[in-house]
């Protein structure tokens, strides 16, 4: 099966080089990468933020940025491993739908001839888009979808840099145990989650993790995404009075939940969120002021001035007017990992990129996210991914509060709200 692809690539490369030789000024080679994102539909704000972050990454990769020090791909213009070739990203809009995402991936691979794909935000969409890449033998690097099953399918072309549901569940559990040791009541836990691929899988993993450690989830409240009203859910919580409420929601519902909690005057003693909606910068802008003290997970924290993370945060803020958030950062990190692999592969041949991805071994100082590194296991999952617990203490900025060593503030409990 590979012979035909190689022939096709050779023909492609030959025609490209003929074209290049033909043009008077020898053009620099460009490497095309596909990015499938929800650029319209309910999650469009997350998609747009990721698109902007990838464009910032392109600036860092394609232009010389000596101020980044040892940060991979920054120092010189373009990819050194491919003679300074520039990277170009072709965006495909999934509209947040698995079917549309699948079609767009097919288009990027067969029409645009991208050499690798990244994306696609919602786990349910990543499920289908990565299946197309797998079928065509094109490397797919995902940085933000956390549903556990994505790396349980025996795929050979799928790589994921983000911490996944089981890592998150463990962090949540350890955090709550720590709080309990400090005398905070954390006995009964409620989970509120939507019924998407993401919501269900994260809720299941958290439930199972807690159960394995001998703690049952007291209340499980599933709901359908993009609700017009969430009063029933909040009243259920209000009546059962759990000590801890864990919210797994996309932005639409997350905003509605926070507004309804305030309207019904309900404050759980501990409110924890699982990223996604609660990390969306426009969530913080819209309802941050009435969500003070909500806990969340994150792998993003800005380093000291002049560090690569601080520089990236500054470039991103300048471009979008928003602060960099965890989800966007994780997507951007995946893109860097992918470009680094292509650079090391020194080739646009899918098999060589795949091999380079498998050999990835990035250290914490080569990353923009606070992972312990990037190194993939045989399933394509980054085994060095990790996350912190952060808190929206002032209603405007999340700050790291746990674990102790890597945070500058301590958690503020109980949940303050407004």
């Amino acid at each position: 099966m590979n012979v035909r692809r190689i022939v096709r690539l050779v023909v492609c490369a030959a025609s490209v080089s003929i074209l290049l030789a033909g043009s008077a000024s020898a053009q620099q080679k460009t490497i095309k990468i596909g990015a499938i994102l929800p650029l319209s539909g309910g999650a469009a704000s997350a998609g747009e933020h990721t698109k902007a972050a990838i464009e910032v990454a392109l600036d860092i990769i394609n232009n010389a940025h000596p101020e980044f020090g040892n940060f991979p791909l920054a120092k010189n213009a373009g990819l050194a491993g491919l003679g300074g070739a520039k990277v170009e990203v072709v965006f495909g809009d999934s509209q947040g739908s698995p079917a549309t995402g699948q079609n767009q991936t097919l288009r990027l691979i067969t029409e645009e001839k991208v050499v690798a794909v990244t994306g696609s935000y919602q786990s349910g969409v990543t499920l289908t888009t990565s299946a197309i890449a797998e079928k065509y033998g094109i490397p797919f690097v995902n940085g933000e979808s956390v549903a556990a099953n994505l790396t349980e399918r025996g795929f050979k072309w799928f790589f994921r840099t983000t911490p996944i549901a089981s890592d998150i569940a463990k962090a949540d559990y350890d955090f709550l145990s720590d709080m309990k040791a400090q005398g905070v009541k954390t006995d009964s836990v409620a989970i509120v989650h939507d019924t998407t691929e993401y919501g269900v899988s994260v809720a299941n993993v958290i439930t199972n993790t807690f159960k394995e450690k001998g703690r049952a989830i007291a209340l499980d409240i599933p709901y359908a995404i993009n609700a017009t009203d969430v009063q029933g859910q909040i009243l259920q919580l209000k009546e059962k009075k759990p000590d801890v409420v864990i919210m797994i929601a996309y932005t639409t519902d997350a905003i509605l939940y926070q507004k309804t909690m305030q309207a019904l005057d309900y404050k759980p003693p501990i409110l924890m969120a699982d990223d996604s909606g609660y990390s969306d910068p426009s969530f913080v802008k819209a309802v941050g002021k009435i969500s003070q003290g909500v806990l969340n997970r994150s792998s993003w924290s800005i380093g000291p001035a002049g560090s690569p993370t601080a520089l990236i945060a500054e470039m991103y803020k300048k471009k979008t007017g928003y602060d960099m958030d965890d989800t966007t950062g994780r997507s951007m990190q995946a893109f860097f990992v992918l470009c680094d692999a292509i650079d090391r592969a020194g080739s646009t041949e899918p098999a060589k990129i795949q091999a380079a991805l498998k050999a990835t071994d990035l250290k914490p100082d080569q990353l923009m996210m606070g992972y312990k590194g990037v190194k993939f296991n045989e399933k394509g999952q980054n085994i060095l991914a990790s996350s912190l617990i952060i808190q929206l203490q002032d209603g405007e900025h999340y700050v790291a509060v746990w674990p102790k060593g890597s945070s500058d503030k301590s958690p503020m409990l109980p949940y303050k709200g407004w």
């Binding site: 319209s40 998609g47 409240i221 017009t228 009203d229 009063q231 639409t252 905003i255 305030q262 019904l264």
Partner: protein
């Protein structure tokens, strides 16, 4: 327990009144000219953005935003009527459906292009925060929207049944050739109907904006509810939409609380289909 149940029902009624509020425009347009406006949800969305812009620029609440949204949408309604509806009404049913659907996408992505995909929100205390009595929590913003819903419904009903303008509009709806022979201009009447329907929708949007998130795609979420409300109430019946809205609101709230949030749509739509089985014209619709 019983106070919680009371809260559920009160919340459901307020939710239902809001459903009724943004459905009245849809049912009016259908009653007047047998056109289903698929851009209805996006009319609501534009009303929300008018309220948002008014607040951002002038710091003013719905007392300014709502009348302005009504005006803006009424104007948009007339423009849409003359630019699009008048010509597609002569075409086949499919052209009407696709015409208004195209309009929906045009509006949605124009706003998208202008404001971006980000979520916005008005401050929670813009309309007096939350009222508390007898242990109930009632959001002032929802109460205001609910009362306006009642007022708008009654005003529209009165307009259609008790005024000369209403009679003329109904005459055009019944038989536009005969109406023309009586000296009524169908074009004018239908343009007025669009202005009123879109105006009411804009008003609804501006009020909903005080307690809901604002995003270009919000019309998708709200539009579906409007269609269900209108078909349960009976296409063309303004009073029907009110009753249907209240019913759906209470059933949704009760089933979300008693059975579980994930089942509430199932309950609502199962009852809805079951009801249409026996009464396809809806609660108060004409056959």
């Amino acid at each position: 327990m019983s106070s919680t149940l009371l809260q559920v029902i009160a919340g459901g009624l307020l939710l239902g009144a809001v459903y009724a509020l943004f459905s009245s425009g849809l049912t009016l347009v259908w009653g007047m000219m047998n056109i289903i406006n698929f851009a209805h949800g996006d009319f609501v969305m534009i009303g929300m953005y008018v309220a948002f812009v008014v607040w951002t620029l002038f710091g003013a609440g719905p007392w300014v935003g709502a009348p302005l949204a009504m005006l803006v949408l009424a104007t948009l309604g007339v423009v849409v009527y003359f630019a699009l509806i008048r010509s597609i009404m002569k075409g086949p049913m499919l052209a009407q459906i696709l015409g208004t659907f195209g309009l929906a996408l045009l509006l949605r992505y124009s706003v998208f292009w202008w404001f971006g995909a980000n979520f916005s929100s008005l401050p929670e205390n813009l309309v007096g925060g939350t009222l508390e009595f007898w242990g109930l929590h009632i959001q002032a913003s929802r109460l205001l929207a609910g009362m306006v819903a009642l007022a708008v419904t009654l005003a529209l009903h009165f307009l259609l049944t008790r005024t000369a303008l209403g009679s003329k509009m109904l005459a055009v709806a019944e038989d536009d050739t005969a109406a023309q022979l009586m000296g009524i201009r169908p074009d004018t009447m239908q343009a007025i109907a669009w202005a009123i329907a879109a105006g009411a929708t804009g008003l609804a949007g501006a009020l909903i904006a005080t307690f809901f998130y604002i995003v270009p795609t919000v019309g998708e979420t709200l539009g579906i509810v409007a269609f269900v409300t209108v078909s349960l109430g009976g296409f063309g019946s303004v009073l029907g939409a009110l009753v249907a809205g209240l019913l759906i609101g209470v059933i949704e709230s009760l089933s979300a609380y008693l059975i579980g949030a994930v089942y509430k749509d199932m309950v609502v739509y199962a009852l809805f289909l079951g009801f249409l089985w026996f009464r396809p014209q809806g609660l108060m619709g004409r056959v």
